[in-house]
Symmetry: C2
């Protein structure tokens, strides 16, 4: 397959739900496809929190993209961070370490997703990691388990308290699931493992500026979820806005205007999303408008105004209030692919994109979830089983599905966690080091002090 | 349990085979035990190469130490890097980030293992990672799979060749297993996944200064192993000494005195071990002698001359030519624990430590291994099955054993790899960045440029 094969060349940016399902739809069709992604894997984001809390390995939720698409001979997968889309020239420029690649396209599907939003306070990121990537999840895994380790040997009661206080910001499904799992760790899993601390004394606080947890699930499920969380040991603090974050704590302004500080070392930011910067890049070169969260007001057929060859799908779009969930990306990716194929076959009058809401689910803790499908709401153990089943079947990749199921059996039946390992890079990663100051771990603050000298010597 | 419980207090340094099996032997006995380790996990080193080559997750081979010992109420596990052993005062000083702990002991078992040895050329470490820790294995995983990714988009034929040339230094079991697996990746697993490169064209070179692979296995098995490796596609280059290593290659001096350079980006160092620096620290304060590899000439009963309260076990010792293998550490750890218990019961005349050789095994590739147990040597598929069984049963931890078995079924029956994910920190980790120069990935060369500014602003 070469760039000059003469076939229509579709470039897809992103290997999440949108990009992958577009590629699968185009696989083995009469087009050439190049999928460019910053990572080598397709990430199943809904289960990231389980990587962070030691239930799953990263491989379980992130099969390798070129493995999934290996048999689609017309699809080429390349690793690259997209630096520029040239709408006029119809090219995409990407880099991978010090390699630069320019990929021309006939049609473009931009499925670059969303990152964490700190609502303009980007300096929060250093102290309160988000939950959008494997890197985030593994960093949080190191911090969460590492906090208990450090608390065990701490001789400073204040620091110990800070280490044993966990704050999750954002009471959507991700935040609820994280808070529930950390509470379960503290109350059950780690109960017998320490001698100087009682992990059960850890505080897990879930904050949100809204008056409800899971606000999109409706009042009944929202209240049920809150009660489950509190039963689980999570302190739910609503109408609480985060005003600042630093190494040692988080500052909160409550609904009544009062301000307070929570002293805590581990903060998880699950509060907002911002569309990929590629959205703004497209807005600069076309007439498409971008909203405050960086998402694009695309046409009814998911294209950029004036540029029917450019589709945008998934978390990057703002269309008819459709929610930024996996199903939007999957359906959008497929729709864009079908549109392209239809055009090549001469089909006209493509129907506008219509999102089909397949429901929402969130799990609170072992054996407890809330689910809303159409008009049917249900909770408890049955909802939890349904949650497991839906997510298992929604995952792409057979082997990681089996491995996930096994890890769930280990965790939920055995009450154990198989995936707690962190590397030094993760436990004492740059953010943690910055938290505690470079003097805290001198050998790692200057990574490979021998190496640093080498660099200087080689440079001189 | 407190330091002043009045019971005999045993401190164990290290959570590898030696430390863990000593702790298990002392568990629920009438002593207090504190196990101090730099990592939170017990590492099953023989399978590290499978984490590096995408077969296993890190959780599969590294169960959490305090989880394994959770039910031994007299055993306390603490995370700490031992900075100092004060033989006179009988204390161990350790640090964990910015926390310092001083632990007094009545008996001490030093089981701190060994690190990679570069035979005095420590600057090799930056370019040729070893295989002694989870960090190493995940870094290598990122490099190995990342090399194929980068080769796919490389427009420089020389760089592509360097990316597709892999060199493993050291033809002991670790090196043989790594080389075999990388060859299998290139020849089989990745075969269908790329469009611009043919992974099968990758070169995998196994180097050793000795004239045989697996020199300790005897000539017959050694020759068999070499033939298997070559059939697998590995180029075996013996009597080849490494004289220098840099970003782009490795310099070799052959047996005939000739010198050459192999251009290669990914180098794995599996060639030598050096006893923990704690050995030298003990040598400074006692009469124990240390050999060139940093190992201690302990007494027949594994104690330090003149200090019967200090035991040294496993890779740290040089005793009667016993090999630095897992069984030595396991048997030594148990022996030391039993000695301590025996003394407390008033038993005298402890028999000297005698190592029982349970045989050696090494796997070459799927369905092919060599095994030597006593006088019985066998090879091929049966040896491979035996290798799997022995390693599976030798692992500590039930759940990770099940998970490992599942991952083996996925890999060996399914011909797939479930655990290929690397984080940015791993693929573009400090060593990789240093390899290609900080300009290669500007956003990561200054980790979190926002953060760096913050640090400066906070400091000013």
């Amino acid at each position: 397959m070469s760039a000059n094969s003469g076939k229509h060349h579709v470039v897809i940016i992103g290997s999440g739900f949108g990009g992958l399902f577009a590629a699968k739809e185009l696989g083995n069709e009469d087009v050439d496809v190049t999928l460019i992604s910053r990572t080598s894997h397709h990430l199943f984001q809904p289960l990231l929190y389980q990587v962070a809390t030691g239930i799953l390995s990263e491989g379980d939720i992130a099969p390798t993209t070129r493995d999934i698409l290996g048999r689609q001979r017309n699809v080429r997968v390349i690793l690259g961070d997209v630096q520029h889309i040239d709408v006029e020239a119809r090219t995409v420029s990407s880099t991978s370490l010090n390699q630069h690649t320019v990929t021309p396209y006939d049609s473009l599907i931009v499925a670059a997703g969303a990152g964490q939003s700190y609502f303009g306070n980007n300096h929060f990121a250093r102290f309160a990691p988000g939950m959008k990537s494997i890197d985030d999840a593994l960093e949080l895994r190191g911090r969460i388990f590492g906090s208990f380790e450090l608390a065990e040997t701490s001789t400073d009661p204040e620091q110990r308290r800070r280490l044993l206080t966990f704050v999750v910001v954002g009471a959507g499904p991700t935040g609820v699931e994280m808070a529930g799992q950390i509470a379960e760790l503290a109350q059950r899993t780690l109960a017998h493992e320490f001698r100087h601390i009682d992990p059960g004394e850890a505080r897990v606080i879930l904050l949100d500026g809204a008056p409800k947890v899971l606000p999109t699930f409706g009042d009944r499920l929202s209240d049920k979820a809150r009660r489950s969380l509190e039963k689980q040991g999570v302190e739910v603090q609503l109408e609480a806005m985060v005003t600042d974050v630093d190494q040692y704590g988080i500052q909160v302004k409550d609904g009544d205007g009062g301000r307070r500080t929570i002293e805590t070392m581990t903060k998880v930011w699950a509060a907002g999303v911002a569309g990929s910067p590629l959205g703004a890049m497209l807005a600069e070169q076309t007439d498409v408008e971008v909203d405050r969260a960086g998402r694009l007001h695309v046409e009814d057929d998911l294209t950029v105004p004036g540029h029917p060859e450019i589709f945008v799908v998934g978390d990057m779009i703002n269309l008819k209030g459709y929610p930024g969930v996996a199903q939007l990306a999957i359906q959008g990716g497929r729709y864009a692919a079908k549109s392209i194929l239809g055009r090549l076959e001469g089909t006209t009058d493509q129907a506008p994109f219509r999102y089909r809401d397949k429901g929402s689910m969130a799990t609170i803790s072992k054996y407890s979830a809330v689910a809303s499908i159409g008009r049917i709401n249900f909770t408890g153990f049955l909802a939890w089983l349904a949650w497991l089943a839906v997510h298992l079947m929604a995952m792409v990749g057979f082997k990681n599905r089996i491995s996930t199921l096994l890890n769930w059996i280990i965790t939920f039946v055995g009450d154990n966690r198989n995936e707690r390992v962190s590397t030094f890079q993760q436990v004492f990663a740059r953010t943690a080091m910055q938290d505690l100051g470079p003097s805290a771990y001198p050998n790692l603050a200057d990574p490979g002090s021998d190496g640093e000298d080498e660099l200087e010597r080689n440079a001189s």
